[in-house]
């Protein structure tokens, strides 16, 4: 496109000659050859008629046989020339082999000239004066007549004329007549003049053809250029329509968005705002446009901090998500807002503008705070009475307060156990709540897992004894170091062990094993001799409030949250949890922890 433009302007600025030079010389030659051949019928016919008249006139001299021979030669030559013309017309290589066709034409012109040269050399000396005049007139005529015929290629003409003039001059010079000798001197000059005219005509034709071609090429270029321009205009128009449509769409998105949308320049001034932004801050778009954001959006005490944060952001040119700030409304009230900042960067890596989206999260934060307060209060308010209930019952049941009657002790034991169950439920609910709100933090440390598991088993042995179940280890518990939270590993173990105990038959044994899996994980297994996990329960066993049968809650206790918590805890420590059937009955529950190398 650009190079075309340059070519065009160069052409326009330069002269016709340089324009003509830009034409393809082969095409110019082909055109010239075409022109010569197109004149051939006239030349053939003219030459033939003149020859016939000449033969008729010359028949009365001596050497009639020679005249007849010459006439036969002319007929043959005419036939050959017609053949050449015919072949050229039918040829498919007119343009590509123009030089060859020109050579054939030169031979034909030479032959044509030679017949006249022959006539001059043979018939001039042998005929009477009037016939000599007639012949001289004819010869001058055919030499002059060759100019328009062959001048398009001057060498062809020069050959043609030379083949007539040379023998004629020779004859005149050697005739022995002074006048003829003088004419013989003039003829070369006449020849030179004619060739010069032919040469000049040749040049004129040549530049004419070149110009024609150059203009033809120029016109083609212009046409192609025009077509391309038109095509590009159509494409541009289409692109403009698309941009306009997507612009309208974007504008609509911003306008109808319940989220405040701002466009800022790199200096932190407002360029555009949407209606939600007007609502959020209580200013109109016109009031905000052109203002620095730090001037009206933030309470005075944080404006400086915001300004330096903005500088850092413009320097980094990276999007920011979830930036929280206290913002100021027109009426002076404060809002908690969450902002996303997206810089629009140009090719030179400079920030052109920044798209800022924000929403009011005051209510959300308030709700979060209230939920947290509720959970915390619930935790305190429920645990405080439970402390009294369980504490009192423990003091009674432990016998510190003196001996109690057997039936009474049975009842207070039931009360203590159920108090404990209620407490477990509260603890589990609080744990789940903490895990799901992302507030549960672990305190990982490097631990000897073997020791920790032995400790867990010791802590739960009392519980197992109540169910007349024994604990045992299956294989050695190696002391491998893991990075985990001690309290939470105990929590998982307590859950798995108490489940295993609850579902084991009286007198059964719960076995604990430890093994490496994949080299990087340590797997702890708790093997029970229980009834196994029902098929329909397997998919949701790690879900919340999951128990195989609601009646288990009453029979076996438990909240149905234990395994859900264990799963999340194991995952938070970089491990996993699962179970499989134990050969010969029962289930193996396992959890993995990453080995500390």
């Amino acid at each position: 496109m650009i190079s075309n433009d340059t070519a065009l302007s160069t052409n326009k600025a330069s002269t016709g000659i340089s324009l003509a030079q830009s034409a393809d010389p082969r095409r110019v030659l082909a055109d010239r050859v075409e022109q010569i051949y197109s004149q051939m019928p006239i030349g053939i016919a003219g030459s033939f008629v003149i020859s016939v008249i000449a033969a008729y006139e010359l028949r009365q001299g001596r050497f009639v046989e020679i005249v007849i021979f010459w006439a036969g030669l002319v007929v043959l030559l005419t036939a050959a020339t017609v053949g050449l013309y015919w072949s050229y017309r039918r040829s498919a290589t007119k343009a590509t082999e123009a030089a060859q066709w020109l050579r054939w034409l030169a031979i034909s012109a030479l032959a044509n000239g030679a017949t006249w040269g022959f006539a001059a050399a043979v018939f001039f000396p042998s005929h009477a004066d009037e016939q000599q005049v007639f012949l001289a007139f004819l010869l001058a005529g055919v030499v002059a007549g060759g100019v328009p015929m062959y001048a398009i290629s001057w060498p062809v003409y020069a050959l043609y004329a030379a083949s007539i003039v040379l023998p004629f001059t020779y004859v005149l010079a050697t005739f022995g007549n002074r006048l003829f000798a003088e004419i013989a001197l003039l003829i070369p000059a006449f020849y030179a003049l004619n060739v010069a005219v032919a040469y000049r005509l040749n040049q004129v034709f040549d530049s004419g053809y070149r110009l024609r071609h150059a203009y033809g090429k120029l016109t083609e270029d212009y046409t192609a250029l025009n077509q391309r321009l038109e095509q590009q205009l159509v494409e541009l128009e289409e692109a403009r329509r698309q941009v306009e449509a997507s612009g309208r769409k974007l504008a609509l998105f911003a306008e109808r968005s319940p989220i405040a949308v701002f466009e800022f320049d790199a200096a932190g001034r407002v360029l555009t705002v949407n209606p939600a932004a007007e609502n959020l801050f209580g200013f109109t778009a016109a009031e905000m446009t052109g203002q620095p954001g730090t001037g009206f959006m933030f309470p005075g005490e944080i404006a400086d901090a915001v300004a330096s944060r903005w500088q850092a952001f413009i320097k980094e040119r990276k999007p920011i998500f979830g930036l929280r700030y206290n913002n100021l409304r027109r009426d002076g009230s404060e809002l908690n807002c969450e902002w996303n900042l997206t810089p629009l960067v140009n090719q030179d890596n400079q920030v052109v503008s920044v798209i800022i989206q924000g929403r009011d999260i005051t209510q959300q934060l308030e709700a979060e705070r209230m939920k947290q307060e509720f959970t915390s209060t619930l935790s305190h308010e429920l645990r405080t009475p439970l402390t009294s209930i369980i504490g009192s019952l423990q003091l009674i049941n432990s016998g510190v307060m003196g001996d109690i009657e057997k039936d009474t002790l049975e009842l207070t034991t039931i009360a203590e156990r159920n108090g404990q169950r209620l407490l477990d439920l509260i603890n589990d609910i609080l744990d789940i709540e903490k895990i799901e709100s992302g507030k549960l933090t672990l305190s990982p440390e490097v631990l000897e897992l073997g020791e920790l598991i032995t400790e867990s088993m010791a802590l739960n042995r009392g519980y197992a004894e109540r169910f007349k179940v024994k604990f045992a280890t299956s294989g050695a518990l190696e002391n491998v170091k893991v990075n985990a939270d001690r309290k939470r590993v105990h929590q998982i173990m307590t859950n798995l062990l108490s489940n295993a105990v609850k579902f084991s038959p009286e007198g059964g044994t719960v076995e604990v094993s430890m093994e490496r899996v994949d080299g990087k994980l340590l797997r702890v297994g708790v093997h029970d001799q229980g009834p196994g996990i029902p098929e329909e329960f397997r998919g949701r066993i790690f879900g919340r409030f999951a128990q195989a049968d609601m009646s288990y809650t009453r029979q076996k206790g438990g909240t149905g949250l234990g395994l859900a918590i264990c799963k999340r805890l194991a995952e938070m420590m970089g491990g996993g949890i699962g179970f499989f059937d134990r050969t010969g009955g029962g289930t193996i529950f396992w959890f993995d922890l990453p080995v500390q190398e």
Binding site: S376, S379, H380, R383, T384, P385, L386, T387, S388, I390, G391, S392, Q394, L395, S398, V400, M401, L423, T441, S443
Partner: protein, 129 residues
């Protein structure tokens, strides 16, 4: 580890039921002498009078919460070197860490087992420098 065994404890707690259980646990199971204070505003005064070896503070109390009372104790010359153990049902790990940094000797979470409470407190006592 302190030279003498733990004997005198001051317990600041507003809930009367828990006061009683803790008193029974510490006196009957732990064989200690216990001074229970219901009103945190009067706590420092009573501590100065009673001269405990260790103070148990409830976390949440009307009028003044445990941490505030602890900070007040630190400002009072007679009580500032007393070891303090918090009994709490709600503190977050971050708050507990903060109190430890201030110098609290330990924490016991509610609900505690009255059977084991004296042992727990004695463990904290023996871990003191």
């Amino acid at each position: 580890m302190p030279a003498q065994p733990l004997n005198r404890i001051c317990y600041v707690e507003d809930d009367e039921d828990i006061q009683r259980i803790v008193r029974m646990s510490l006196e009957r199971v732990g064989k200690m002498t216990v001074e229970v204070v219901s009103d945190p505003m009067l706590a420092i005064e009573r501590m100065i009078a009673f001269k405990p070896e260790l103070v148990l503070l409830d976390w949440m109390m009307p009028g003044m919460d445990g941490p505030t009372l602890y900070r007040k104790m630190l400002e009072t010359p007679e009580t500032k070197s007393l070891p303090v153990v918090f009994i709490t049902a709600k503190a977050s790990q971050r708050e507990l860490d903060e109190l430890r940094k201030l110098g609290a000797a330990g924490t016991i979470s509610k609900p505690f087992s009255p059977k084991d409470l004296p042992t727990q407190i004695r463990a904290i006592w023996s871990a003191l420098p």
